[in-house]
Amino acid sequence: MQRIRLRYTKRGRLRFTSHRDFQRAFERALRRAEVPMAYSAGFTPHPKVSYANAAPTGTGSEAEYLEIALTSARDPEQLRTLLDASLPAGLDVIDAVEARTPGLADRLTASVWELRLDGVDPAGARRAVDAFNGAPAVEVQRRTKNGVRTFDARSAVVSLESVPTQDAQADRPSDRPCAILRLVVRHVTPAVRPDDVLSGLRAVADLAPPVPVAVTRLAQGLLDEETGTVTDPLAPDREAGAKEPQTAPATAAATAPA
């Protein structure tokens, strides 16, 4: 059995895809692409797919990860191309490696988010960010199924900064003021989401964007505590692959039965 790890995106209007929606779409893409999936045993067999840490519905992402188990080996890059073509534009598969190390989920300890605040003056946003960073703790509330929960949104935040607009991944021109924030946040339990940080900005500095904030996950991976940066979670698999002699996938491709 071969395991392949994939990185995929939720872009544009398909950022409104919920995780459940994505799961169904992905499993159908696997069928259309005729991927030799391994199935779970049991009454209703399911293809073996492990999803890690999905972004909330409505937020875009450049860095979602999952792992699939195959019954026979395939070339990761060819598989990536096929799956990408099988999924609607916006749900794009952008990276694939064969799993050669354990614990992908354990390497996803932090995320980098971009928050685009249309209609918000950058100077005002900077002041709010400074107030947030300067606070020892920022209490926010989130409505959950079990009522309103109050918690600290500050301690999980590794860094929050206002970045110049032209540096951001601006995908639409606008003549209105626009502030862009970049947020690095640890994955803790219970989770602190970009929404919670926005609630925090409102709490400390009354920052109230006039339109919904466009939130995009730019990266997730292992947090380098020294530099405060997030590293590529697929890098260890790639490195392990580079050290080994090229075996499984290439051979399998060459000897595939006609």
């Binding site: 209007r13 398909l14 409104f16 895809t17 919920s18 459940r20 929606d21 994505f22 169904r24 779409a25 499993e27 159908r28 893409a29 696997l30 069928r31 259309r32 692409a33 005729e34 991927v35 030799p36 199935y39 009454f43 209703t44 067999p45 519905t57 409505g58 026979s72 395939r74 070339d75 060819q78 598989l79 096929l82 099988s86 609607p88 534009a89 916006g90 339109v211 919904p212 399998a252 491709a253 060459a254 595939a256 039965p257 006609a258």
Partner: protein
């Protein structure tokens, strides 16, 4: 925002996008489904907005809309986009921010299209149509519309009596839509190319004079002093007295949908559906679908195999649904099921037959259906509890048939059987309904016997019967909501009270109230339009949804709106009609001879059964000669061949 300079057909997505974070399940509004089509607006000259007037999760899988969407988009210079009802949360935001009703494909305003076609599977979508028109900025009443408003066209089974919505639609097409939409497209195209001579009225006249498009505005309804209809007459020359239904004869020539839409959002049916035949001549007297879709036209076994193969490749669905009004009646159903199960053994693709008759079902078929998939419950619809009432409704399945079938099922590993019934059938008494409990108990008894297990279940599901136009029961009195509920209560008590079997029998029922509203809309005339309008104005939406439906609102609005006419809800529902009465839909020709329907109604009262004309001589229902059609069934004697070996994903080159 410089809204007023925006072109009428510009996408409203930027405005909509800002609202989506605030609504439930935003994915249903963004489009982008696999196999959806967005064509260039400016290179098309006839543009259709197609609506299924219910929530996206119900509307998206609708086969009718999907077929028309593909058929139209395949035409050069023609485009079709889809729109669905928006939930009240988004409706409120759209009104607040002036975002109009939009298509999910390219988010263009519905008002910018040439034709706004709505498919009504049920009458309970009427208020949703008004909501959509209003959100679109299209006047609710046809007479208030101008040259640039779309032609509002109704289709679907409910359109066989479009009179209750006659004020709101410009026209209706009854019967099969595939060819009809192309004929309409040609007429719209020519009229536009000529510079829209004579305006809206001229276009409607050109449609009406074909004899296949009903334009309510070209007909006047005259009433008798007692409230009944005196006659319905064309109010201008060149308009036919009766409008005919459309019938597609060779299903193999129409293999649609070829590429079914695959939504990202979760919907009610997620499978590769193939319509294996259209029409049904079993002759169940309550069944409008069986009456208005005659004659039976089968898709060939090879045509079905081809559609399944291409459809699965295009969608990745894990289940195939073989659709029709009674799927086990296809002349080659055994070979179809076996052939498909053989083909897809390794792909874990399940097969389902949504409608199966007890007497056409056998265990070989059942085993093929479950070979690659899940052994879910079996569902049968005896419809009536007593042998007597089944003779009245002409559903000729005996209790022996049923017991024999479920015995085989329980003996072959099934644990759950679902039985569907109706309450309030003509001539029905409490005793007829109480026999449902006996039937369920016999099923459980037999099941325990053959399976040797106490762990088997039978679910009884029952709802109120609603008499429908173009059926032998179109003259029948509907049972009142109170009597329906009382009868259901007695049945429930009998089932629950049984010590030996009661705990193995599930009981699910629909109360009688929604059925009365459906009855009012089904057999209503133009005067009922005022009720629909009043309910809509009062906030009525999504009447097919229990949490949104309000019986009290409907009754209050009906009392007020119908009073000036001297009629009421009972007059439309629980009143029996006589032979001479002009029915509101008499000028819409389903092909059925009204005298034959009346004779069949009399046979029902005499408990006389009528056979299926596929296997016995013609009973002169009138459809084939009137519509110049004929029964088209197999067997063809062909078999499904195994598919060629697939090329596995990512396997590189092959030799």
């Amino acid at each position: 925002m410089p809204a007023e300079v925006a072109a009428a057909a510009e996408s409203v997505f930027p405005q909509l996008e800002a609202l989506l974070p605030h609504v439930q399940k935003p994915i249903q509004y963004v489009g982008g489904e696999l196999n959806s089509t967005v064509k260039d607006w400016d290179s098309c000259d006839v543009r259709w907005a197609l609506m299924y007037p219910d929530a996206y999760e119900v509307g998206l899988p609708n086969q009718g809309v999907m077929i028309l969407y593909e058929v139209l988009n395949e035409q050069q210079g023609v485009l079709a986009e889809r729109t669905y009802s928006v939930w009240p949360d988004l409706e409120a935001l759209m009104r607040e921010h002036q975002v109009p009703q939009f298509t999910v494909d390219s988010h263009r305003p519905v008002k910018a299209f040439d034709v706004f076609g709505l498919s009504f599977s049920t009458e309970l979508g009427y208020t949703n149509m008004l909501a959509a028109l209003d959100l679109a900025g299209i006047p609710l009443e046809a007479r208030d519309r101008g040259l640039d408003d779309p032609i509002v066209m109704a289709g679907g089974h409910a359109a066989f009596n479009p009179e209750p919505i006659a004020d709101f639609i410009d026209c209706a097409v009854i019967g099969d839509g595939e060819q009809a939409v192309l004929e309409v497209t040609a007429i719209v195209r020519a009229w536009k190319a000529e510079g829209r001579p004579g305006g809206r009225e001229e276009l409607l006249f050109r449609l009406a004079r074909t004899g296949g498009v009903y334009v309510p505005g070209f007909y006047d309804v005259e009433y008798l002093p007692d409230g009944r209809i005196a006659r319905v007459v064309p109010n201008r020359s060149g308009v036919p007295w009766r409008v005919s239904k459309h019938t597609v004869m060779d299903l193999d020539e129409w293999p649609y949908p070829k590429q079914p839409l695959v939504p990202l959002a979760e919907t009610v049916h997620e499978r590769m559906s193939v319509e294996i035949f259209r029409g049904c001549t079993r002759g169940c007297r309550f069944c409008q679908a069986g009456m208005i879709t005659r004659p039976v036209r089968e898709r060939s076994i090879t045509g079905i195999g081809d559609m399944v193969d291409k459809g699965l490749k295009a969608t990745g669905f894990e289940e195939v649904g073989l659709l029709s009004l009674s799927s086990a009646d296809h002349t080659e159903i055994g070979d179809i099921a076996k052939g498909l199960a053989d083909r897809y053994t390794e792909d874990k693709i399940g097969l389902s037959l949504p409608s199966t008759r007890v007497d056409a079902f056998n265990i070989d078929l059942a085993n093929e259906l479950t070979r690659n998939g899940r052994r879910s419950g079996l569902t049968f619809a005896p419809e009536g509890g007593s042998e007597r009432i089944r003779k009245v409704i002409n559903k000729m399945v005996s209790e022996d048939d049923l017991i024999r079938t479920v015995a085989t099922a329980y003996g072959n590993g099934w644990r759950q059987v679902k039985l569907y019934f109706m309450c309030g059938l003509p001539t029905e008494t409490d005793e007829d309904v109480l026999q449902i409990a006996d039937m369920a108990m016999n099923v459980i008894q037999k099941g325990r016997e053959v399976s040797g297990s106490g762990d088997i279940r039978c679910t009884v599901s029952i709802g109120g019967f609603v008499p429908k136009p173009h059926t032998p029961f179109q003259w029948a009195p509907q049972l009142s909501a109170e009597e329906t509920d009382a009868r259901l209560q007695k049945l429930r008590d009998k089932i629950r009270g049984d010590k030996k079997y009661g705990r193995s029998i599930g009981f699910r029922y629909h109360d009688g109230k929604p059925g009365i509203v459906e009855g009012l809309l089904s057999r209503g005339d133009r005067r009922v339009g005022a009720v629909i309008r009043a309910v809509y104005d009062d906030g009525g939406r999504f009447d097919g949804w229990r949490e949104h439906f309000s019986y009290d609102r409907w009754m209050a609005c009906a009392d007020k709106a119908l009073a000036p006419y001297g009629v009421d809800v009972d007059w439309y529902t629980t009143r029996e009609r006589s032979y001479e009465e002009v029915l509101p839909w008499d000028h819409l020709d389903s092909g059925l001879d009204k005298d034959w329907l009346w004779e069949d109604w009399q046979d029902a009262l005499d408990e006389t059964e009528v056979d299926d004309c596929r296997w016995t001589p013609c009973f002169d229902c009138g459809v084939c000669p009137q519509m110049d059609t004929s029964i088209q069934i197999g067997p063809t004697g062909k078999k499904l061949l195994p598919l060629t070996v697939k090329q596995p994903a990512g396997s590189g080159h092959t030799h």
